[in-house]
Symmetry: C2
Subunit: 503 residues, 2 copies
Amino acid sequence: MSKPKTAITPTREENYPEWYQGVLKAADLAEHSPVRGCMVIKPWGYAIWENIQRVLDGKFKETGHQNAYFPLFIPLSYLEKESQHVEGFAKECAVVTHHRLEKNKEGRLVPAGELEEPLIVRPTSEMIIGHTFAKWVESYRDLPILINQWANIVRWEMRTRMFLRTTEFLWQEGHTAHASKEEAEIETKQMLQIYSDFCHHYLAMPVICGEKTPSERFPGAVSTYCIEAMMQDRKALQAGTSHFLGQNFSKSCGIQFRNMDGNQEFAWTTSWGSTTRLIGGLIMTHSDDDGLVLPPRVASSHIVLIPILHSEEAKSKVMGYCESLAASLRKIHYDGQPIRVVVDARDLRGGEKSWSWIKKGIPLRLEIGPREVDSEQLNLLRRDKAHRDGTPLSRSQLETQIGTILDEMQHHLLDKATRYRNKHMVEIDSQKEFAEFFTAKGEEIHGGFALCHWNEDPAIEAKVKEEFNVTIRCIPLDLPAKEGRCIFTGERSPRRVIFAKAY
Amino acid sequence: MSKPKTAITPTREENYPEWYQGVLKAADLAEHSPVRGCMVIKPWGYAIWENIQRVLDGKFKETGHQNAYFPLFIPLSYLEKESQHVEGFAKECAVVTHHRLEKNKEGRLVPAGELEEPLIVRPTSEMIIGHTFAKWVESYRDLPILINQWANIVRWEMRTRMFLRTTEFLWQEGHTAHASKEEAEIETKQMLQIYSDFCHHYLAMPVICGEKTPSERFPGAVSTYCIEAMMQDRKALQAGTSHFLGQNFSKSCGIQFRNMDGNQEFAWTTSWGSTTRLIGGLIMTHSDDDGLVLPPRVASSHIVLIPILHSEEAKSKVMGYCESLAASLRKIHYDGQPIRVVVDARDLRGGEKSWSWIKKGIPLRLEIGPREVDSEQLNLLRRDKAHRDGTPLSRSQLETQIGTILDEMQHHLLDKATRYRNKHMVEIDSQKEFAEFFTAKGEEIHGGFALCHWNEDPAIEAKVKEEFNVTIRCIPLDLPAKEGRCIFTGERSPRRVIFAKAY
């Protein structure tokens, strides 16, 4: 039997990394740029980011955060103030050393105007924001400070993959300062919860909330919390982090306040971030061998109307109908936003157009020819169902039900992803089983999340990483802490942690 | 007679540049950062930018543009492809030369990992976007391409002033490619018109649309159009530009397409931008000697409720009333957005709180004490009227009329600014008059826009700049071209142009 033809080759089973690149390309989401490790985010991909921004920004504001903007550059001496922090980022910093170009003797333009102090293109903004907070805070009355920034970030990564790990990426970074440890800890967890809710309800991507082990902490943090999602190759993707920074950064930046008793204290700070990597997570959670599948709530567009024109006479009738339908749909709101409609008037065959939208992952498609116009009977195609498996409905039914249909698809995607994740998240209680789980047996896709007991020894963690390329993704927050025996040493373990291969 | 005390000292008349800094500080809009020439945009200032973004973004999308994102870095060799372009920016480029930090022998961190090719932090993105467009375009069917990017930009300026000229600034840059010269020219003018409409209707800042003289063109452009506003020191502020790039950039970037006849042609491109400088323009157009005045449509917040608490007993009653009033107001829409309300619950004297909001320029203020709560009679204070000159109205009147009141203030600010601009825009027909107009006669604030005939000779333009520090701001588009005699040479002049001192 010949295997069914898919729009994306290779398929997930055949070669997952190449499939991912194929999906990106077929969906027109992004492309490589001439700058090493930097991508161009194309309109269809950027629209997803705009939706992510809109929703997250709303959630940040609802919880009292305000947006601000801090410089792109950080003077080297500022970055150095927190020793663990600078050590964590030193190997991947883009450094600005000159402030103009000049012609040399051969007439070639070369850097000139050397700076007295090199500037680092921000790999994260704790040091520059911390320095600024120090000026904003005098008394306990000035706290808390709850700030968020939408910005671009540069980390000079050696191996890059579009959306998952790029030299420059877009993100938001929250930075807060509090008068008490407890309040800062509550903030850290609150923001983790916001990320988790967002991934579930908007990206339809189930995540596990957990704490990182000390070796995986953010450089300079007291504790790092994260959300971890499982991709369809069963690898983990860290989709957001929230850091409790204790007083480490307030001490290195001098964020002090006069407390209610009139004494000087250092503030307690947090930081938390999520990036364009979320788009990579969304792609790898839902897409199939025919390309991208977009969860409706963050989809670049919700529905495409594809005029099918076999004759010149039909053209104005069909196009007129499509434009009028598009206009009615745009008046309907879904998730607080007008329905996003595309009318594909390109001069291409209907089948070619349909396939291009399947690959772009648009949730709903309608092919509209003279017959549909005359009968007012439409055939609604959903990206999460078989491509020819339409639902017949009238125009007025479509207009009344489109919100419900989109929500149905949204929930269906979350359910499907959750089932997949749960199926491949298993308790493993022996080293042998562990080794088998994480070793390919002729299969490209294998493994998953292994819930194992571990003796909390970083040396064991390092050994497992070395041997299997498997890391502890997190200590899950929502599992009851049940004691057991470390599968590597037999020593006491306070609870199971999640081991997985990771992006 | 002693002069009335003002919240900002010095006043505009006393020292305009210092007054500007004073307004920024008192309104908590922005502050200097430890990075030379870079500012921190604080929440009250950033909120204005968010409003500007929201409105402009909507206008760009309505006219068919899509957002995308391109790399922060431009390889030097790309920047060099357009010779005029690189010459225009070479003197103000931040150059990345290394990609990590390493400890030297003395244990100090120094730049390491030298790049084979230096990267320029984008001073504008024509070259990187042009290169990308070249890959996107094959046939006339792929045109037009209508792209916008919201991004940060770095130009190493020697003298900086917050919002007006900073080393890093935020902006949007539109980049489009078209199949015909005419279409690109229409696009260039359309975007100029969008900027002009936005300035009038949202910033309440009247602007003059015009074309730049060749010496003031964007490096590489065929023609540069601009909008010019008059500040309260009568200097001109260039508030946005739109460039017709002809085929210059498509030739250097290789943006070619197969036309309907099957022949290869170079595309016609445009670019257009507006920046956080708009905030500087807004500040200098409306603010007075008591601080910032915000036009309602882009105001960070619309109204502040200031609880006046003389006793502990009154507190819960007054606070409850304020919270309930705030909740009702937030349900009302103004200009398509929920009314933005602040409740100032700080533990400060009422007068101190009121003054802080006057300085922050919030359009409306309500001081609410037990008497107001009991009588349900409020006293609405408007930032564009005398500070104690309130309008009595009931809560329900406020709720019904707030939109109208905000619009009244919006129009009042535009009218006032337009009257000021018109008063100081004069036709000048002799060199003597011109010299007097632009020379201070013991007055800090003098001059304005001089509409003069000019013989179109760049040498004369340069001489005037040298002698008076006055430049041709633009050749106005909306004035009838009426011939005359150049005031500097007596030679023929096709039309009057606008001379002014400028930011």
